[in-house]
Structures are given as C-alpha cells and as structure tokens.
C-alpha cells in the first residue's frame, strides 16, 4: 500500500503539457496533467487532430520552458496524421519568440519530429494490439509520457456488433489503466459528437461511446464553435474560453 500525502503529490508534480489555448491553459494551471486520461471532443474540423499534434510537440519542450522533455506516441485510426503539418507546427514552435529568447539547447524541428512515434491502426484490433505492445515501446523508450489515440470513436464504431464494441472499449481501458499505473502516462483520446435524443424530443449534442467510457476518462475537453468547454456532458459542461482560429 502506498500512502502518499497530498503535500508530497503537490511538490512531486511534473510539468503540465501546454495546449496553447491560453484560456484553457490558465484554467488547467498550465495544461494537461500527467497521469490522467483526457478526451477531446468536437465536430469534424474543430481542431482535435491539430491539438493532438501540438501536444506531441509541446511535451518535448525543455523543462525551463514548462515542458517535460518527453516523447509521444501517436495512434492513428483515421489516417489523419500529417507529418508535413506536424513539421510546420514544429517549425512554428521553434521560431516562436517566447521560445527562441531562452533557447540554449532547444531541439530543432526535425529532432522534434523524431520524438513522435507513429502507429497506424487500420482497425480496432490493430489499436488494441498497438496498445498492448506499448510496454515494448516503453521499455525501449522509457521517456514516452504521452499517448494519443486519434480517434478512439472511429475505431470502436467501425464494429457492427454493439456488444463487441463495449467489450473492446473496456478492453482498451483495461490496457490503458495498466500502462498508466506503471508509467504515469498521459492519454489523450479524441472522440466524436453525435446528436442524442433527450426528453421531449429535444436533441442534444453529446459525445459518443456511452456513460461507462465517460466515467473512466478524467476530463473531457469540448472544442466547439462558440468556445472551449470542460465537462463530461452537455448539461454539465462549463465554458472556459473562446477559441481563436
């Protein structure tokens, strides 16, 4: 049994991963915390993938830049990953004035790209296999601290049988939990929104994959047209900031 006091935990904290959405970063004390499961939801084209790519780069920043000098794995189920876009973002990050001023040992854009590992998953089975193999990658590269799954709903919803979906989803979560307990990883999943029928025939936009999934993830970030929200359901979500594009 590991008893830790909250004080120790407070001081033992490693740096958060900045999202570069200023309002959100402010609200989350600098970004995504390590060791939690985050979910990004939003409609198509709301910038989920872009944010994922950004996170892959921001985690590599050196410690004095509020980064954690770690590496990332990117699980892609939709072939959305675009290395050219990632390179653009990396170049933009390196040349950013706030980053450049203090640059001493700053990694170059190409180096940054080398620290993002890419796993292509055509099907849900590939995704499970990929996550199960994570411990191998982690053994080779112990500095991996961020795992991105873009998008989890696409993989899950490509299955026809609903029972199989639940099974698979829970399997994924079990695997992720195990990895998380061992390595203190941050997970970022992306998910879709769909209209769901509510009382009195009203339709409301909700994230898919059901309530059990929502229970397991720690925070859900909504990227919407009218701003950025935090919260698991459209009823309980709170407005955080406007999104500038």
């Amino acid at each position: 049994m590991e008893l830790k006091s909250a004080k120790c935990l407070k001081y033992a904290k490693s740096a958060n991963i900045a999202t570069d959405i200023s309002g959100l970063d402010q609200f989350l004390n600098g970004g995504l915390q390590q060791g939690k499961v985050y979910e990004l939801v939003g409609r198509a084209g709301s910038g989920k993938t872009q944010l994922c790519l950004r996170l892959c780069l921001n985690i590599q920043l050196p410690q004095y830049q509020n980064g954690s000098e770690a590496k990332a794995i990117y699980f892609d189920t939709r072939k959305d990953f675009d290395p050219i876009r990632l390179k653009e973002l990396a170049e933009e990050l390196v040349t950013r004035p706030s980053v450049r001023q203090t640059s001493g040992l700053l990694p170059t854009a190409t180096e940054m790209l080398r620290n993002v590992f890419y796993v292509n998953c055509h099907t849900a089975a590939h995704l499970v296999a990929g996550l199960l193999n994570c411990y191998k990658y982690l053994a080779r590269e112990p500095n991996i601290k961020l795992i991105i799954v873009d998008s989890i709903s696409f993989a899950i919803r490509s299955l026809d049988n609903i029972l199989a979906r639940t099974e698979l989803l829970m399997e994924l979560h079990t695997v992720m939990r195990k990895l998380q307990m061992k390595h203190n990883l941050t997970f970022v999943l992306t998910n879709n929104l769909a209209f769901r029928r509510k009382r009195r025939r009203r339709f409301e936009l909700e994230a898919v994959l059901g309530q059990k999934h929502a229970q397991i993830i720690n925070k859900r970030i909504w990227l919407m047209k009218n701003g950025c929200f935090l919260g698991k359901w459209s009823k309980t979500k709170r407005f955080i900031c406007k999104l500038s594009t």
Binding site: E2, K4, A6, Q33, A194, V208, L209, R238
Partner: protein, 344 residues
Amino acid sequence: MEDHGDLQSLLLATKTGKEISEYHIKLLQKQNIRTVEEFVHAEKLHTRLALSNDKTEQIKREILDLCVRRIKFKAIYKCEPITYSTGIEELDNLLDAIGQPLRPGRVWELVGENDVGKTELLHTLAVNFVCKHDDNQQVLFVDTNLDFDSERLDEILREKQLTDEAIDNYLDRISVIKACTAEALLAALQELLRRLTSSKGSSESVSDIKLILIDSLTACYILYRSSYDRNKGRSFLSELTVVIRKLAVEHGMAFIISNATFSLDEESAADDDEQELSHIGAVNPEDCNYLGDYWSSVCTLILSLELPEDSVQENDLRVLKVLSNSCGIGEGSCWLRLTDAGII
C-alpha cells in the same frame, strides 16, 4: 472458571436468583452449566435443580433482562458521540434535520451520475475535514479512477485565504492511495486494517486517519466484462464490506463512498450507445445501481447528488437528496453550489 463466577454473580444479582441456595449453584457446576447461555438453554433445568418450573423461568427471565441491559449500557458508554462537521453549512443543516450527523464509524454512500460533482464534493469534504478538526486527524482519499487532484485541493485551500505554510500543513494531513482495481482497493484497506491492529498505541500516522473517502466504487465493476468477472467483482464487494465494517466499528473510521449511477435514457435508445448499457445486464431498472441489494444495506445513509431539473442557464447548482437513511427520516434535500472554493 471466570464464566462460572460470572453466572454466579449474575444469579445473585437477580431478585429470584438470590433465593436459590449454595446447593443449587454447586448443582449447576456439576451439570457443567457455566455461562448464562448454557443456563438459559439447559433442558429441564427445573428438574435438574429440583426447583419449580415457574421459579426457574423467572430466574431465566430476570437474568436475560440483566444481560441485555448490560450490553446496552456498555454500548452507550463505548460510543462518545463526537460529531464531525462537514464544513458545508447547508449539508450540516440537512444532516441535523434527519438526525444523521457524520460520526466515527458511519458508512455513507454518495451516488450520482458522472460529472455531476461527486469527486468535487469529496475533495471539498477532505479539505473541510482537515481544516475543521485539529489535533492531527487525517483523511485518507482512496482514488480508484485517478481523479484525485492535489492542485484542486490547493486551490480550495487558497480560496480560504491561508498562508502557504498552513496550506502545506493541511495538505500533509490528506493521504492518497491509488487503487485502480477492486483487488488493489481491497488489498489497500486490508493493509490499513493490518497496520492498525499491529500498531496499536504506537504513534504511527495511520492511526490518525479518521475519515476515509473512496472515490469511486465503480472500480469494483466497471472493468469487469464477462459474467464470470462480474461475479468476481461482487465477491470483492462483499469482502470489501467486511473490511469496511471492521475499520468502521473497531477503529471508528467514518467512510464516505462515492458511486456512479448510470441512467437509462427515458425514451428507447436513440443512439447505439444506450443499448450498450442495457446489455450490461446487472442494471437494476429502478435506480440503475450496479451493486445489488446487499450493497444497499451496507451504508447507513445514501445521498444522491443530482442536477436540478429545468436548469437552463445556471449549471453550477446541484441538489443533494437523501435517498435512504436507515436510522431516522429518509427524506430531505439541500442545494449546493459549485464554486472555485469547492462546494458550498
């Protein structure tokens, strides 16, 4: 021989029992009747003792009376009614009204849909507990969903306008255990029990733990999929109950256990995700509580945190309702508000 002495003294303490002679007591000894229980259950006692039936029955009745009263007195002396304040005024009023203040040894359950603020409430309670109760009483936060956030505690404390030193001091008294599976949760509590029993009297820090917050019990079932696994989860649950009871009764710890409920949608499932829920099977259609009847008898007070109905604009108001209360009034509710300073 102590038992016999006990019986003898008890006999002599009763009114009719005084009338029996030394001879009868020796007879009892011979017949191997040494305890009150044996005395009451002995067959044909009146023939054995050569007393009238009426008289033996009278003695039995009086002796039982005496014993039962003894237990009552003992119980009353044992519990010193210390009442913990939750630090949330509305909640304290509600608990007062239903006659269930938070006391050592209480086991409560807090249910609610996910994202309604259960974890937030537990964070607030943890902070309030260490702030209100000095003399080193500690809180143990059992984290099963990795939701614990020390920064959040820090924020809540900062809202109370405390110095950094005081904040650290308070934070030091909140301990956290990560336990992501039912096995780990059970193991952790058993370990705690073991340490408590082995280190009686010594000044180890575990003995200062007075309040245990478990967030949340979903770990016992959420990752179990097959029916075999689900039964395993249930067996964990009953073992867990035993440990919780022991900790509560023997060591006077108060428990607040949070648990998620999953609502089935009002209308027949419109999206495929609803159907997933109905396939899980263990759902009790009435309250959608996963854990069955046995579990609902464990907690003496079940509170449910809900979103108020017809709330359109304000989404930081919550209703806390009493779902069931095994001693006292079973109804009541109060309003709570989510703020930066926790829940008030």
